[in-house]
């Protein structure tokens, strides 16, 4: 739907409609006024005749009257050939011949008639106005009875005169309004076009934006009705551009994380190619395999992160933290389990959560793997849970080196490693943990343990916990 088309069609339609109303009203008005005027004229003419006739019959000079009638309508029988002349040259009028007069005596004998009148009675002998059809024309007839001698005066006037006059009056009265309407129509078009210009400007501005060019719309010249819209668009674009920026940075991080092992593998492959003895070739092959393993792990972690899409999760279920932890620990490779002692406290088996069990297990696996990677030989990793009034707190403590105070806040960021990449981590483990926590409205915090080690705490809100079952 086009606002412009709607406004133009609506306004011009209303204009047209008002014009039709004005037209009909004018026509009706003309019809009433002209009718009254002509009726009055008929009556008056009749009274003038009456003045001559209202006396005893022998005193009336019919010849005189006849001559007068003849003179009045001379040469103007019912032919319309002179209709185009508005005025006759002798001072008469073209409409004159469209009158007819009959005078009858009391026994209804025709005494006198104008040449335009027929020989039979135009109307019934009855006082007042009537409309009769004679020949092809309608006539307005005024009949009057003279009480003194019982004569009837019948004066008739052809209806088309009135119609013509009504028509002319109607149309001439419309010229002004019509001119006004045309002016108004142009005005409406102009105002609507001008009024919609800011909208067109704004959409042009929006059209110029794309994913690489998300700068805010310029709203200085926008009318105040459009400013909230513009601001909403600006806000949206800001969010999108932040998202795009974040995605871009993430892609950059991925590129970095994937390209580094690739660079190492390629170098090792070329080193192997340039080596002259089989032992160093084997040595380089081993390094390549390690690089491949690392890339595989990284890609799996990336896929895990990508699959953490809240729309694909389904419904949360009641989970026992201890059961999930035990499953994760059982699934660890002997290599990951060797050298560390993982202790699951009893409290974990008494803690129920309303959560996504698959995600919880990914989260616990990442935390445990992370802890075991940084644990010293024979180190202990302990998992505990605690329920407070509002939260369920899960805590994992290792005996690794911990991290410096300033690094504590960087934990959980993508590709951040606690130490230079001396260990084989992808740098994604804790950001997966952070993402899963976010999906559970839980909060992750890190602190250093005493005397040494890292404590990861995850605070699940109790609204999400299944405390009452």
């Amino acid at each position: 739907m086009s606002i412009r088309r709607f406004l133009l069609a609506g306004l011009l339609g209303i204009l047209l409609l008002s014009f039709v109303v004005i037209f009909l009203f004018n026509r009706y008005q003309a019809f009433v006024e002209v009718g009254e005027l002509y009726d009055a004229q008929l009556a008056q003419s009749s009274r003038i005749l009456q003045g001559f006739l209202n006396r005893p019959a022998d005193e009336i000079d019919f010849d005189h009257i006849n001559t007068a009638l003849l003179a009045a309508t001379e040469n103007y029988s019912n032919d319309d050939t002179h209709d185009n002349d508005n005025m006759r040259n002798d001072g008469g009028h073209k409409y004159e011949h469209k009158f007819a007069i009959q005078i009858w005596d009391k026994s209804t004998n025709l005494l006198v008639k104008s040449p335009s009148a027929p020989l039979y009675a135009i109307a019934d002998f009855k006082d007042g106005y009537s409309i009769k059809k004679i020949g092809d024309f309608n006539w307005h007839v005024f009949t009057q009875h003279l009480p003194s001698n019982g004569y009837w005066v019948v004066i008739a006037e052809r209806a088309d005169i009135r119609e013509e006059i009504i028509e002319k009056l109607t149309y001439s009265s419309l010229v002004g309004p019509l001119a006004g309407m045309v002016f108004l129509a142009f005005g409406v078009i102009l105002v609507v076009t001008k009024g919609l210009q800011p909208l067109i400007d704004l959409s042009q501005q929006i059209r110029e934006r794309n994913i690489d060019k998300l700068e805010p719309l310029v709203l200085e010249k926008a009318p105040k009705e459009l400013i909230p819209l513009g601001q909403a668009v600006n806000l949206l674009m800001e969010q999108v551009s932040q998202d795009v920026e974040r995605e871009r940075r993430f892609l950059g991080d991925i590129a970095h994380e994937l390209r580094t092992p690739l660079a190492a593998m390629k170098l090792n492959a070329q080193n192997g190619l340039y080596s002259k003895d089989i032992y160093s070739v084997q040595n380089f092959l081993i390094k390549i395999v390690r690089g491949v393993d690392r890339s595989i792990r990284l890609i799996e972690q990336l896929l895990t992160l990508a699959r953490l899409d809240p729309r694909a999760l389904g419904e949360p279920e009641t989970c026992v933290l201890g059961d999930i932890a035990q499953e994760v620990i059982n699934a660890l490779s002997p290599q990951q389990q060797s050298g560390v002692h993982i202790h699951v406290e009893e409290s974990l088996f008494n803690t129920q959560l309303n959560a996504y069990p698959d995600l919880l297990s990914v989260m616990l696996r990442n935390l445990i793997e992370n802890a075991s990677r940084y644990s010293p030989e024979g180190g202990k990793i302990s998992l505990a849970a605690e329920q407070t009034a509002n939260n369920i707190i899960f805590a994992l403590t290792d005996q690794g080196p911990g991290v410096s105070e300033q690094q504590l806040h960087s934990l959980g960021k993508r590709f951040f490693r606690e130490r230079p990449a001396d260990r084989m981590g992808s740098g994604l483990g804790l950001s997966i943990v952070a993402r899963i926590a976010e999906l559970h409205q839980a909060q992750v915090s890190f602190s250093n343990a005493v005397p040494q080690g890292l404590v990861v705490k995850i605070l699940f809100p109790l609204a999400n916990a299944n405390g009452d079952s």
Binding site: G252, H256, L258, P261, A263, Q270, K287, G291, P420
Partner: protein
Amino acid sequence: MRLLLVEDDLMLGEALQDALMPHSYVVDWVKDGESALKSLRREHFEIIILDIGLPGMDGFEVLKKLRSENFEVPVLLLTARDSLTDKVTGLDAGADDYLLKPFDLDELLARLRALSRRAAGRAIPFINHGKLCINPENQSVSYDNQPIVLARREYMVLIKLLENTGRVLSREQLEQSLYGWLDDVDSNALEVHIHHIRKKIPVDLIRTVRGVGYTINKWNESQT
């Protein structure tokens, strides 16, 4: 040639070390920016390979810092990001070249050679000194078109002296360019290398400046 490698990734760092050693580079490897700056302040390196994605202080910061401390050593940046801004930022921060990971070993070596050539003020890839001709690309040495086989460290001493003709290089300067932190240095190892070079090249190029060090005179045509 003494090279400082700044790379936090264990695997890549190790691979680079393995790759560069056979090509007459003495590689010292640090894993973060602070250690890189410390090493630079302590010792002389002829070239630096610097990774951008370092923990803590990143490669750009290290680069800016070392340039602000007036180290003119050529720097080759390693970057995993192919965005233009990264390259521009790197070059503007004072890098001499950059390489996108993953890279080809031959390209890396060629770029390193180009960097040391430029640092020595040479445009042609060969080093000529009279009838002596050295091609750094395959580390071949010839005299009067007769190939000469030099050991790795002998080659390094010769190159170092030839790139600084007319200047006397001290024992320490030569030793620093020959030995990394992990190498054991015999007290008279340098003399042994120089002795071998003198035996293998028909003319005696290397002049001993007693109590100071060694030098090779600038070549001029009258010497033939």
